[in-house]
């Protein structure tokens, strides 16, 4: 999500290179996946607890709880509007992209951006580890690094 936020603020930043790691490419899909996974979590609650909040329930303007985080309605709308597309200054920025599994959709998105961009030195790297970003059962698990930190550091420092 941080990568998507960065990409969508590039027009206001003076940077020559960005390093993205598993960016949210489509905010609306991301929010839909969060909601679906939160619903799955609630269906798996073993004890009947009539008090737990259901997504979307509550007074207008209330917050929405999704997989352990609480969002305002405005925040959900803003996040749903995020996209990683060629735009403005991003065309001239050198792009380094680290994609973990499933990597294929990310690689396709990277290639589209690289084609539309004017910068040299763009590259994408795949590390086939599933970080399970949207799995509530794994959100608080610790995934071994397996080269992710080293790959990101290289993308930041390489010339």
């Amino acid at each position: 999500l941080g990568a998507a936020l960065l990409w969508n603020t590039l027009d206001r930043l003076e940077v020559g290179r960005v390093v993205l790691w598993d960016p949210v490419c489509d905010g609306a899909e991301y929010i839909a996946a969060l909601k679906e996974n939160h619903r799955r979590y609630l269906r798996a609650v073993e004890y009947v607890d009539w008090h737990f909040p259901l997504p979307g329930r509550g007074r207008p303007g209330a917050t929405v709880e999704l997989l352990g985080s609480t969002y305002s309605d405005r925040m959900v709308r803003d996040l749903a509007a995020l996209r990683i597309d060629p735009r403005g200054k991003s065309r001239a920025v050198q792009l380094k992209w680290l994609a973990t599994a499933p990597a294929a959709p990310q690689v396709a998105r990277f290639e589209a951006l690289a084609r539309a961009g004017a910068s040299d030195g763009n590259r994408v790297e795949e590390i086939l580890v599933d970080c399970s970003w949207l799995d509530v059962a794994s959100l608080e698990s610790i995934v071994p690094d397996l080269g992710i930190a080293a790959a990101l550091a290289a993308m930041v420092t390489e010339t």
Binding site: A44, E46, A137
Partner: protein, 269 residues
């Protein structure tokens, strides 16, 4: 409310966040990592607890043990138990130097609970321990309650009201350890926990047990605590809150709020 980063310990290798009491100094709570989860706690439970306790008059230090979060791993040659002991002692020394020795409480979830409990035995400065989902030992009554729970769950599943969630992937994804568990945690033996609890009660240390539904494999009724330690007179020093509807890491905000209020209520009682 004032929060600040701090570093302490040998070579200042341990990193923490101090949340100052808003009003008064009723004591200081030190929160120990839940497993490998950094000092914010699972789904920010520790951060929310520290801020609530601040309003109730307690300062809180939540810090990372060596090798977790922002803390560097030091004393790498020492066994884990020894390192944990040294690092919790460093945290106590730090808050004692900052606020004085009054009312030092240790707490944590899961391994953080047991690390706190184990350390309290050897350091008489600790005046209270808060333990969320620590050790549990099935006693007579646990088995039929568990059977009943499973029967209800099976019925709910048959009616389409319950869909089990897949277990977390805590196994190594690649390499020679592929598929093997990354973390293997063994809860404290009954002999050890009985010895420590007896010692703490004798010393007048308050011990607050909290069990969630995440511990139902070993603990599923309030009466079980007394049965687990039948030979120990709790002397109003041992308290228990049981929240069977919560999961182990409190994904839902309402569950975290309940837990935070439970701890705050017991500490301020």
């Amino acid at each position: 409310m004032k929060e600040s980063c701090c570093q302490f310990g040998e070579d200042r290798h341990l990193a923490g966040i101090m949340t100052e009491a808003v009003d008064g100094g009723k004591g200081t709570v030190i929160l120990v990592n839940a497993g490998l989860i950094p000092k914010r706690g699972p789904f920010r439970l520790y951060a929310e607890l520290a801020r609530r306790l601040s309003r109730a008059g307690f300062s809180t230090l939540r810090f990372d043990l060596g090798g977790i979060g922002d803390s560097l791993r030091n004393s790498a040659g020492q066994p884990l138990k020894t390192r944990t002991e040294l690092e919790i002692r460093a945290a106590l020394d730090y808050v004692e130097g900052r606020y004085g020795p009054a009312n030092l409480v240790l707490g944590g979830l899961c391994s953080g609970a047991e690390d706190s409990f184990r350390f309290a035995e050897i350091d008489s400065r600790v005046t209270g321990v808060v333990m969320i989902d620590s050790f549990g030992y099935p006693m007579p009554g646990w088995a039929w309650r568990n059977f009943l729970h499973r029967a209800v769950r099976r019925s709910r599943r048959a009616l389409g009201l319950y869909h089990p969630y897949p277990h977390p992937k805590v196994s190594a994804p690649v390499g020679s350890q592929k598929g093997k568990p990354l973390v293997s945690y063994e809860y404290m033996s009954h002999a050890e926990s009985s010895r420590i609890l007896q010692k703490l009660v004798n010393r007048g240390t308050r011990v607050h047990f909290i069990y969630t539904g995440g511990a139902s494999g070993v603990f599923n009724h309030e009466s079980q605590l007394k049965a687990m330690f039948a030979g120990i007179d709790f002397r109003d020093l041992v308290t228990l809150d049981h929240f069977p509807h919560m999961d182990h890491t409190q994904v839902l905000a309402e569950h975290r709020r309940t837990l935070v209020e439970s701890i705050t209520g017991r500490l301020t009682a």
